[in-house]
């Protein structure tokens, strides 16, 4: 088992992100459509990983707010892949959660909003489960 101190490295492995290459230009945050919904912004996610504060990342709203549109990955001049860091943090969170999913299929009718596009629904199911 990996210890707590190995979390950042595990996150790097899962995400394939190159946090050390970041030059803090902010292009990820500039490109992000969900920026306002995030408590930790995409560029900050990179900084959090650099200093190893994985817990904060996992507990952020960002992991749920990220749409995985990958605009930040497309535009990042250093190929850092911020969205993959966010994605990896979310995955780690979900895995830690174990078999109790955040959302079960039964909860869904309740939460259903008639305006929600189908694709988002499918994406959400993927997102909220392992």
């Amino acid at each position: 088992m990996l210890g707590r101190t190995d979390l950042p490295n595990r996150l790097r492995v899962i995400s394939g992100a190159k946090d050390k290459d970041c030059m803090k230009c902010g292009k990820c945050s500039a490109s992000c459509p969900s920026y306002e919904k995030m408590d930790i912004r995409p560029h900050q996610f990179v900084s959090y990983l650099q200093r190893g504060d994985v817990d904060a990342m996992m507990n952020s709203t960002t992991v749920w707010a990220c749409l995985c549109c990958y605009a930040c990955i497309e535009r990042c001049p250093r190929d850092v892949k911020p969205a993959q860091i966010i994605e990896a943090a979310r995955l780690m969170l979900i895995r830690r959660q174990g078999d109790t999913p955040y959302v079960s299929a039964d909860d869904i009718p309740e939460l259903l909003d008639p305006d929600t596009p189908q694709q988002l629904l499918v994406s959400a199911l993927r997102k909220y489960t392992k």
């Binding site: 902010g26 990820c28 500039a30 490109s31 912004r41 990042c76 190929d79």
Partner: protein
């Protein structure tokens, strides 16, 4: 057999602390042919060198081994000392027992053992050394400058002023280069044309300078001191001798639809044109792709109006061949293509590159200096500058390096806008502001402090052209907020790259380029203006992004190097060159095909192999061209080609000794 002397250096304690020097001396004495072996605290000192000199005389030494520091450090020192006492300098070898032994091995036994081994390898090699002599090659006292921008003009003027002939080859119809396109220059905001045009005229009128405009380098042969260059003078369709520069031809030319290169395509020019009003030479050129006469056979209006009869539709490309002693590459730069940076909406008419913006602000430019949106001609209320577009970008679409000039010209642009139109809101999105030149930081701060330019640390993620305005989304890294803003004009600080023609020119010169396509310098610190290829020098942005003062400084430095070369009557050549054994060579041409310098030719000769006579095609090495890499020696299937100073036998002897 040689009589070899071995001299082992303590280098103070640098060697002696880790290596048992006495043991190395004793073991060396047992090596074949070693008749003298000694140690000294500092072999490179005057006294140490004297010790070698005395031993050579006293013991009649014919080979010397110095076991000391790296040969890269002191081989020249010791070889000079050997030459002084009449020993051929190439009869001396060094064993590197400091950098590659005492400094890295802590165990004294191991280090000593290795020092003994390295010394014995040097002894084994020196037994096979032969006296080598540097050859001589002539120096043609004429220089060729490739590129007629500020770099090329500066270097040409400096060399010409010293009394040597200089030719400038410029691919466009006139000299001046990028600097001619600029409006003002930082950090003084003086007018670019005002300081450049006199230099252009100086160059054109200098007795020692010959301009070849609208010309390209066709081929290069030869080597330092003795280059033979063929220049293709593209057909101008205008007789330069007859043309008076009156301009009647381009006034009357009906073909008006060619995008002007000088105006970055922002306006059109005629089919017969001069690139810009102050062009040097002031002789037009016919763009045959655009000219109605060339396309349809009808028209010829220019010919009709040309009083001196200078128009010549029949003119052909002309090849000029000239010898040069030195070549200076000054081919300059261009902004990168922005096709892959769709997020900045580069297709929008109101999104400009910085070079386009230079033309917009220039009084002689397409808008006559009026700052207006090119889409609708309105004066912008807000202008946004975006830095690092394609620079510092390690993805395949960008350039990993900093383009260096953008921070300062953006400050210049911002200031110029604010100066003329204080009401325009100017925002600059930056990652870092880099301003380390003389008066540079002050200049940038003035833009922010005195002119009220908004500097926002952060990048722009997306630009959308809304028709009558642009919308951008950006990040403000310091406020940790996302900005969605309206603006009327966007200027992109586009990364710069070397001209496409740099690569073919470099390969013609057998000079190297780096992974970004810039010319490589011979040494990043100690030889910053020389190319690794002897006799080829670098000036300006072909070598890396540079601003004008730096370009002019490098041009001056290159000129000094060129003068140093041209002032010599003869050059000595590298004695460690390839040589073919005529008894083994079968003339197969393998060596010729790998030589990076074209130094190998062939000749048919009669040879006498121990009484067997016959004609044979044989490889012949031009020792002035050969740089001594040894590619030929390895590729030679017959083992006929060998490298003096690093012969097969010498290296094998070292292998044998080291593996003992």
């Amino acid at each position: 057999m040689k009589r070899v002397g071995v001299f082992v250096c303590h280098c103070g304690t640098n060697i002696a602390a880790a290596v048992d020097v006495g043991e190395v001396v004793d073991k060396a004495r047992l090596e074949r042919g070693v008749v003298f072996s000694a140690e000294y605290p500092y072999m490179c000192s005057e006294a140490g060198q004297t010790m070698i000199a005395n031993a050579v005389k006293e013991h009649n030494l014919t080979g010397v081994v110095v076991s000391a520091c790296s040969p890269r450090m002191h081989e020249v020192t010791f070889r000079k000392a050997a030459a002084k006492i009449g020993l051929n300098p190439y009869m001396l070898e060094m064993a590197n027992i400091r950098e590659q032994c005492s400094w890295i091995h802590k165990d004294k036994d191991d280090a000593t053992k290795k020092a003994v081994s390295l010394t014995s390898a040097a002894v084994a090699k020196v037994h096979l050394n032969t006296p080598l002599f540097a050859g001589e090659s002539p120096v043609t006292k004429r220089a060729l400058v490739i590129g007629g921008g500020i770099a090329g003009i500066s270097v040409a003027l400096d060399v010409a002023d010293a009394g040597y002939d200089v030719d400038i080859v410029e691919s466009t119809p006139g000299i001046g280069g990028r600097m001619a396109q600029l409006d003002k220059t930082f950090p003084t905001l003086d007018c670019s044309a005002c300081i450049l045009t006199p230099k252009m005229v100086d160059a054109a009128t200098h007795d020692n300078i010959t301009l070849h405009t609208y010309s390209e380098v066709e081929s290069v042969e030869g080597f330092v001191g003795d280059f033979t260059v063929t220049i293709r003078k593209k057909a101008r369709s205008v007789d330069m001798k007859k043309c008076t520069g009156c301009g009647a031809c381009y006034d009357k030319c009906p073909a008006k639809k060619a995008p002007s290169e000088f105006e970055e395509g922002l306006s059109n020019r005629k089919a017969i044109y001069i690139p810009f009003a102050q062009a040097v030479p002031n002789v037009p050129v016919i763009d045959r792709e655009q000219c109605i006469k060339f396309k349809t056979g009808k028209c010829g209006l220019c010919e009709t109006v040309c009083a001196p009869g200078a128009i010549d539709f029949e003119q052909q490309d002309e090849l000029v061949t000239q010898k040069y002693g030195a070549v200076i590459v000054a081919t300059g730069f261009r902004p990168i293509e922005l096709g892959k940076f769709g997020e900045y909406a580069p297709e929008s008419k109101d999104v400009l590159t910085s070079l386009e913006f230079e033309r917009i602000t220039n009084a002689a430019g397409p808008t006559k200096g009026a700052l207006v949106r090119l889409s609708d001609g309105r004066k912008p209320k807000s202008i946004t500058f975006i830095q690092c577009v394609g620079s510092r970008d390690t993805t395949p679409r960008g350039k990993a390096y900093c383009s260096k000039i953008c921070c300062m010209y953006t400050a210049k642009h911002a200031m110029l806008v604010k100066d003329k139109y204080p009401d325009i809101d100017v925002n600059v999105y930056y990652i870092d502001v880099r301003s380390p030149g003389k008066n540079f930081d002050e200049f940038y701060r003035r833009a922010a402090e005195e002119y009220g330019v908004n500097y926002i640390k952060g990048q722009v993620g997306k630009v959308v052209d809304m028709g009558d305005h642009l919308v951008l989304q950006a990040a403000d890294m310091l406020d940790n907020r996302q900005i969605t803003a309206r603006t009327d004009m966007i200027v992109l600080a586009t990364a710069i790259e070397p001209l496409k023609s740099t690569k073919p020119i470099a390969s013609m010169l057998t000079a190297s380029i780096d992974t970004n396509g810039f010319m490589t310098e011979a040494h990043p610190k100690l030889k910053p203006v020389e190319s690794p290829t002897a006799g080829v020098f670098l000036a300006g942005a072909c070598h890396g992004p540079k601003d004008i003062p730096e370009t002019v400084a490098q041009a001056g430095a290159a000129a000094a190097k060129v003068l140093g070369l041209l002032s010599k009557s003869k050059l000595t050549t590298n004695p460690c060159v390839a040589a073919a054994d005529e008894l083994a060579c079968n003339g197969c041409s393998a060596c010729e095909s790998v030589c990076p310098y074209g130094a190998i030719g062939y000749e048919d000769r009669q040879i006498n192999d121990h009484g067997v006579r016959g004609n044979q095609r044989l490889a012949a090495v031009n020792t002035a061209l050969c740089q001594g890499c040894g590619a030929c020696a390895v590729t030679c299937p017959s083992g006929a080609m060998d490298l003096l100073g690093f012969s097969n036998r010498q290296i094998l002897a070292e292998v044998d000794a080291l593996c003992r």
